[in-house]
């Protein structure tokens, strides 16, 4: 007998048998998984970048987004060829139901974005690294989460309020009250304000990140939407007095490639394409681009007649916003030719970009989400509501003055002091200043003008129904009865 071999083998057996959990904890090669992610400062950074990444997504800021902000309102029609994307025609005509692609797309896209933000907020504190940087990254994520929820709550009302990664046990969720969603948005933004640097405090390489100013500006808009004019005034004025922002002298420049991240930019989605990489753009430019010749787009989101008529005589903002058939392209490269398959084509000039390496599919234009002019008008509106008429007029007229530029005798200063009239003047100013910037629907709903305005525009707005989009039918089906539908759908 040779007990030695037996001994060795038995010993080996015992060794193997002693294997602990670590024996099974192996990771795929060349790939990170949930288990070995969020270990280093680098992970915290890339996870935050991945939230910004989502801002360029189709589901967030492109097709359905156009549909449920501009096209649904009185500022724009569907555009494109009559039979293209009929679900957007239903949006345009307020004929959509709970199966319509647009609200389904937005719902899915925004919740995926919130998933990324939640992950970052939850897990970044775990990583080893610079505490200040970690705090900043978490608050960038909170700013973005607040932005996502702000759009969602304005579209859908009560919402499942998800603020952490769910496990299988908590897949059943009910809709949180609108007020609770706003409370979460306000909490996230207030925290962001305490931590995030001002735009000027970021190094040049970080241009495009969420800033204190952006958080204040967004918060002022949140309060305005809630009709909390005191706080709306407070945070709008904080932006103004921070001296971080000034209006760009030339209104038309704001929406050119050179006008990206201009002095009046509080927050915009950074996009770019170059010869090496074309995956840094979005389809924002493409879907609104000129359909036909020169062909760089699909021609959706057509500025409406009513919108064009809203402009005061000679207002140069009209020409800066609307691109017509027969008009020379902003870069002078060509004429917009007539497309026989599109009736009376018109395009959103603010989304227009010159020829670029991304061709169709990926446009390099930044998506402007929050401008200083918007904040000034928020301030004006809040101040007027708070009885501070003189200050309100000051900010309103600042916007008009810039629009006027050097052209005499157009867009005179507003001098109305009567509260209601001034309110209407400010609303009018918002419509023309922020036209085709995906603000109109939210303003119509917020100000209660929607029913009158849309009926006037020939749309069958049903009160107590169309203020909110339907919850996607598939969500209600899959929730096994925990989600309810909005009224009227």
């Amino acid at each position: 007998m040779t007990p030695k071999i037996v001994k060795i083998s038995l010993f080996t057996l015992l060794l193997l048998a002693g294997c602990k959990d670590s024996y099974y904890d192996i990771q795929p090669r060349g790939e990170l998984t949930a288990e070995n992610f969020f270990k280093t400062e680098e992970h915290a950074k890339v996870a935050t970048n991945a939230i910004y990444n989502v801002l360029r997504n189709w589901e967030i800021h492109v097709f359905a987004f156009m549909g449920c902000t501009d096209i649904i309102s009185d500022d724009a029609d569907k555009g494109s060829e009559p039979n293209d994307a009929l679900f957007l025609l239903d949006i345009d005509n307020l004929a959509f139901d709970a199966g319509n692609v647009a609200p389904v797309t937005l719902w899915q896209g925004y919740y995926r974005a919130i998933f990324r933000a939640n992950i970052a907020i939850e897990r970044i504190p775990e990583v080893k690294g610079d505490e200040n940087l970690k705090k900043r990254l978490v608050d960038e994520a909170k700013f973005l989460r607040a932005y996502f929820y702000f759009n969602l709550v304005r579209w859908y009302g009560d919402l499942p309020l998800i603020t952490k990664q769910l496990t299988q046990n908590d897949f059943k969720q009910t809709r949180a009250k609108t007020a609770d969603v706003y409370a979460q948005i306000i909490a996230d933004l207030k925290e962001s304000i305490t931590v995030l640097p001002e735009k000027s405090q970021y190094p040049a390489a970080d241009l495009g990140r969420a800033t204190k100013g952006a958080a204040r500006g967004l918060l002022s808009k949140v309060y305005l939407t809630q009709k909390d004019y005191t706080n709306a005034e407070k945070y709008a004025l904080e932006v103004i007095t921070s001296n971080e922002y000034t209006l760009l002298a030339d209104y038309g420049k704001i929406f050119t490639r050179e006008g990206e991240n201009s002095s009046e930019s509080l927050f915009e989605v950074q996009s770019t394409v170059n010869d090496e990489r074309t995956d840094g753009g979005s389809q924002f430019n493409e879907v609104q681009g000129v359909r036909g010749s020169p062909n760089l787009g699909w021609g959706f989101n057509r500025p409406s007649d009513a919108f064009i008529l809203e402009f005061e005589p000679g207002d140069p903002r009209r020409e800066a916003t609307v691109l017509y058939e027969g008009e020379v392209l902003p870069d002078g490269s060509a004429l917009v030719e007539k497309n026989p398959r599109v009736f009376n084509a018109r395009f959103n000039q603010k989304a227009w970009v010159p020829k670029h390496a991304g061709e169709n599919g990926s446009g390099p234009g930044n998506i402007r989400l929050l401008r200083y002019a918007d904040v000034l008008l928020i301030a004006a509106e809040a101040l007027n509501e708070n009885g501070k008429t003189a200050d309100a007029l000051k900010y309103l007229n600042a916007v008009r003055k810039r629009a006027r530029g050097t052209i005499p005798n157009i867009i005179p200063d507003v001098t109305i002091t009567e509260k209601t009239k001034l309110r209407e003047a400010i609303w009018h100013e918002r419509r023309v200043e922020l036209g085709m910037e995906q603000q109109r629907w939210f303003d119509l709903i917020r100000t209660g003008q929607a029913e009158a305005a849309l009926k006037k525009h020939g749309k069958n707005f049903v009160k107590n129904k169309h203020e909110l989009l339907p919850i996607p039918q598939s969500e209600i089906d899959l929730s096994a009865g925990t989600l309810t539908q909005n009224p009227g759908y």
């Binding site: 193997l16 024996y23 998984t33």
Partner: protein, 1007 residues
């Protein structure tokens, strides 16, 4: 050195001289009749012979030698020669082959003690088929095992389904080769295989725990025998392969006629003035197919003595594809040796090294099917003919020329080393170290070329993939055997560990130097990525890998009482890194009972009954071939964001999916009840099993609300599938007048496959793309078989305007424009007066209702004959290539039977190019049942007396045919369509590489 050599020679010489050699003659009988083919070997030598047709033998032996007589089913006898010249022997039948051993998991068992369902296939039956694939050679040999060739490409393996399709995911069985645990046996050469044991029920497979659910194939390779000195074997065959059947496609004239008809039906001018002028045109099938050779050469040396046994073999096979431009080559070497170190310790190894090379033919089937026969292969200028006159179809000949460089190679080592220690009588310990190391490379080069606008490449490209797989196994088992009176026990306990490491590198480069001499990738030194001027970018290359580890305990007890009552119980506990944190360990028990009724007093004396055994088993087994990324999904990368005044890309990645810490194996519960019986001295044998196999916890994507926010739904263990059926095996073997031996073996299997659940909230899985416009051909629902065909039922063809007006149509279809007389009438199943997607229904399944095979063998005076008939019945095929008409392509001849006027056809609509008549419907569903002569062989073995004169122990020549004939109604090349084993796409014919018919001649010789 010289001295040693001299010494050696003198010893050999002296022993030669000293040995007194005698010629021994005699007759071997079973007491009544002579026995033919009894093997007689002089013990310890390679000298041997077999008895002739009268039971007579003659051989030379040393006067003091010992003769060993052996014959299957009889007890072997050893008789000392003692200088006798005549030795007549009466062989005694081995009562029911009591001691015949069957290989089971981690050991062998007496066949009589077996309580599980295990079928064996021996080497002789595997080598009848001319194929490089052991899997293909198993086709039609085992009840309950459906073997379907993956396709007909050279070197192709087979899809094996044991007792139905067990899961919606990977349903492939598990393989064990000489104790090494593997997921495939593509490396094995059929000449090396001694036997394949198929473990079907839970009692047999549960010892493999989480890998046993889809059945287990245990392959034992050939070893040397301690009884023989060197046996040198040579076997070789040469075969010619060709296409069994062409698809009936329209010729040029018919094509032009059909085009005219289609144009007329569309309301367009007829494109061809004089179709007859085209004649027959080009038969593109003739362009792409060829008669191709297959050749095999195998050399082996086997033998041994009490101290060691050895088996060394080398095998070379080259198979050219019947589709031009492809071939497969495999060189394999194997060394299986055992060394008895002392009375207690034996070490050994089974080791093989394999090198395969494949040249993949470009996928020309699609183009050959659709290319217009009016186009020439090459035009008058010598350029490739333009096949795009009517639509966007490429020229298959040009494809063959320009896209011919697509090669793969594999260098693989598979083997195991073991130590057996006999600790004391009955108790043995085995340590087994297994290794499977393979290194795979593939390269594909596409040059710049231009045939037509749709068949061109502007930028050349090179794809390189290198993969490395390292699979290591470390097993320690103890085996204890003891007989006390009427009790016999066999106990097994073991601990095993296995690790698997895979590495993948994939690179793609473009804009390599253009070289007119390198169109077909002929200049090897130009085919390296470093020469690419663009690419290998992050989007086009990857370098990663995955791995898993498993650790297991296993136990088994066999207990036999009084040779009558049998009990087997086994248990395995598997821990695997593939499983989520919360479900790391799986337990797999089984229990089985057997009752050998024949041993009972009331049957003992029943003459005609030679064996009767009842058995029943139950067990839980698992399938761990699951997507292990689901337990902890990879972080999603390339979610970059742009920042900074200089618009830089900053890397972004994050978690976008939910982890599932509860992810675990798919779990199958199987019950098996069966019996084995033998009659008339076991001339007639029968084996019959009923099984019920339910797989629970099948991995499926959970349908969850979108507000949860995951990119993909999490994968959970939720679906359920049932397979239930019968396996029946009947055998008859006899010898007429002692001269003509023959045997007939028939197998019959049924499977009822049914999905019992798809997880909460999920009602259906659509699958099986038919190849056009994202249309799907199958829908799997609760109550249906997996991958059931789903589409419209066809009632007939609109014969006249009245029918067109009154019968249901699709909404928005205006009669006379969108739908016309001659179009299909779809059945309005929901009775709402219109045809909508709700009117689609189940059309049939690709899973056969039953399969059977008959294997017949006979021999007479050295001539042997065998034939195998296989039949698969009740399966349907979706002829997707007939359905998919992206653009105008050629037609099958059956289009000529299309409706032209009232009463002309009520099943084939008027000829159109696309549109409403091309929905997934019964129109494209065909009967896939077939009966085939899988193999027929005739051989002649040289009489021993002659063979020995030319120093041969055995010499046989044969002629054979594989896939000689197939009877089927299916119009395509073959109804055997696996689509790589995708359970949702089986039976969807998108253009499958047909399995060839092969005629071979071969020789087997032993020196």
């Amino acid at each position: 050195m010289k001295k040693i050599l001299l010494l050696f020679i003198s010893i050999s010489f002296s022993s030669w001289v000293a040995a007194q050699s005698v010629v021994v003659r005699g007759k071997v009988t079973d007491g009544k009749e002579p026995l033919i083919g009894v093997s007689i070997v002089v013990k310890g030598t390679s000298t041997g012979t077999i008895t002739d047709f009268d039971g007579n033998y003659e051989l030379q032996s040393e006067a003091n030698g010992t003769l060993v007589f052996s014959y299957i089913g009889f007890v072997a006898q050893e008789i000392p020669v003692n200088a006798q010249r005549t030795i007549n022997v009466t062989m005694v039948e081995d009562a029911q082959s009591l001691k015949e051993l069957v290989v089971v998991g981690y050991g062998t068992q007496r066949k009589s003690d077996l309580t599980g369902s295990v079928s064996s296939v021996k080497s002789k039956d595997i080598q009848t088929i001319a194929t490089p694939s052991v899997e293909q050679a198993l086709q039609g040999k085992i009840a309950g095992v459906l073997v379907t060739p993956s396709d007909g490409s050279p070197g192709a393996g087979a899809i094996i389904r044991i007792r139905g399709t067990g899961t919606l995911n990977n349903s492939n069985p598990f393989f064990v080769v000489d104790g090494m645990l593997l997921d495939d046996i593509g490396f094995l050469n059929p000449n090396d295989v001694e036997s394949v044991e198929v473990l079907k029920d839970a009692s047999a497979t549960a010892i493999y725990g989480s890998r046993g659910a889809n059945g287990v194939l245990i392959v034992t390779t050939k070893k040397g025998s301690a009884k023989n000195r060197a046996q040198i074997g040579l076997s070789s065959y040469y075969g010619s392969q060709d296409l069994l059947k062409k698809i009936a496609l329209a010729n040029a004239t018919e094509y032009a006629q059909l085009r005219n008809l289609a144009a007329k039906n569309f309301g367009a001018p007829e494109p061809y003035k004089d179709p007859a002028a085209f004649g027959v045109g080009t038969d593109w099938q003739d362009v792409i197919f060829r008669t191709a050779p297959i050749k095999n050469l195998n050399l082996s040396a086997r033998g041994g003595n009490d101290l060691m046994t050895y088996s060394v073999s080398g095998d070379y096979i080259k198979q050219d594809g019947i589709l031009r431009g492809g071939d497969f080559e495999r060189l394999s070497l194997r060394i299986n040796n055992d060394y008895q170190l002392n009375r207690f310790i034996k070490i050994g190894h089974n080791f093989s090294v394999i090198n395969t090379k494949s040249d993949y033919s470009p996928g020309m089937l699609y183009n050959a099917y659709y290319a217009p026969p009016t186009a020439p292969v090459k035009d008058s200028t010598g350029a490739f003919g333009n096949t795009t006159s009517d639509g966007s179809v490429g020229n298959p000949a040009a494809q063959l020329f320009y896209e011919r460089y697509n090669k793969g190679s594999n260098f693989r080592t598979v083997g195991n080393f073991f130590v057996d220690v006999n600790i004391f009588k009955g108790l043995t310990y085995r340590a087994n170290l297994g290794l499977d190391w393979s290194s795979v490379e593939s390269k594909r080069f596409v040059p710049v070329f231009r045939v037509t606008d749709i068949q061109k490449v502007d930028v050349n490209s090179l794809d390189v993939a290198r993969r490395k797989y390292i699979n290591k196994l470390w097993e320690n088992t103890l085996n204890y055997e003891k007989t006390i009176g009427k009790h016999r026990v066999n106990l097994l306990a073991g601990i095993t560990a296995q690790t698997n490491d895979n590495f993948f590198f994939i690179g793609r480069g473009t804009e390599l130097p253009n070289d007119v001499n390198n169109i077909g990738g002929d200049i090897d030194e130009l085919l390296y990525l470093s020469l690419a001027t663009k690419g290998i970018t992050v989007n086009e290359g990857s370098d990663n890998g995955n791995n898993w580890r498993m650790f297991s305990y296993l136990f088994r007890a066999n207990y036999t009482f009084n040779e009558k009552y049998l009990l087997t119980a086994s248990y395995r506990r598997d821990g695997s890194s593939k499983f989520g944190k919360n479900r790391r360990f799986g337990n797999f028990p089984s229990v089985a009972l057997g009752w050998r009724l024949k041993e009972e007093d009331f049957l003992k004396n029943v003459e005609w009954l030679s064996n009767l055994k009842l058995r029943a088993s139950w067990g839980i087994i698992g399938n761990e071939k699951i997507d292990q990324t689901a337990k902890s999904p990879p972080v999603t990368g390339r979610l970059d964001a742009i920042f900074g005044t200089d618009e830089r890309f900053l890397s972004g990645s994050t978690i976008t999916r939910l982890a599932n810490p509860d992810l675990h194996w798919e779990e199958t519960q199987q019950t098996d009840i069966g019996f084995e019986a033998g009659f008339l001295n076991n001339r007639l044998t029968a084996e019959m099993d009923w099984y019920n196999r339910q797989t629970n916890d099948i991995l499926t994507a959970l349908q969850i609300p979108a507000f949860i926010g995951t990119q993909d739904p999490p994968t959970v263990n939720a679906a359920k599938v049932l397979n239930r059926g019968w396996d029946i095996n009947l055998g008859w073997r006899d010898r007429v007048a002692g001269k003509i031996g023959y045997n007939v073996n028939a197998i019959f299997s049924t499977v009822h496959n049914e999905v019992l659940g798809l997880g909460e909230g999920k009602e259906e899985i659509f699958g099986g793309g038919v190849g056009e416009g994202g249309k799907l051909g199958t829908r799997t629902t609760i109550g249906s078989p997996i991958g059931a065909f789903f589409g419209y039922k066809v009632v007939g063809v609109f014969q006249n305007a009245e029918q067109l007006k009154s019968l249901p149509k699709r909404p928005n279809e205006t009669p006379g424009t969108d739908v016309k007389v001659g179009d299909l009438i779809y059945a309005d199943l929901d009775g709402d007066g219109v045809i909508t997607s709700k009117d689609r229904t189940f059309l049939g399944s690709a899973i056969p209702k039953y399969t059977f095979s008959i294997n017949i063998g006979a021999d007479y005076q050295g001539i042997d004959f065998s034939v195998q008939l296989s039949s698969v019945q009740g399966n349907k095929v979706m002829n997707a290539k007939r359905l998919a008409r992206f653009s105008t392509g050629n037609f099958e001849k059956s289009f000529l039977e299309g409706w032209t006027a009232e009463g002309t056809s009520n099943f084939e609509p008027r000829v159109t190019i696309g549109g409403r008549n091309y929905e997934v419907s019964k129109r494209f569903l065909e009967d896939g049942s077939f009966t085939a002569i899988r193999n027929a062989q005739i051989g002649y073995t040289l009489p021993l007396s002659i063979a020995q004169k030319i120093k041969l122990q055995n010499f046989r020549i044969y002629a054979a045919a594989t896939n000689l004939k197939m009877w089927t109604k299916y119009s395509g090349y073959t109804p055997e369509i696996t689509n790589g084993g995708d359970s949702f796409a089986i039976g969807i014919d998108r253009g499958v590489y047909p399995v060839a018919r092969t005629y071979t001649i071969g020789v087997n010789a032993t020196f």
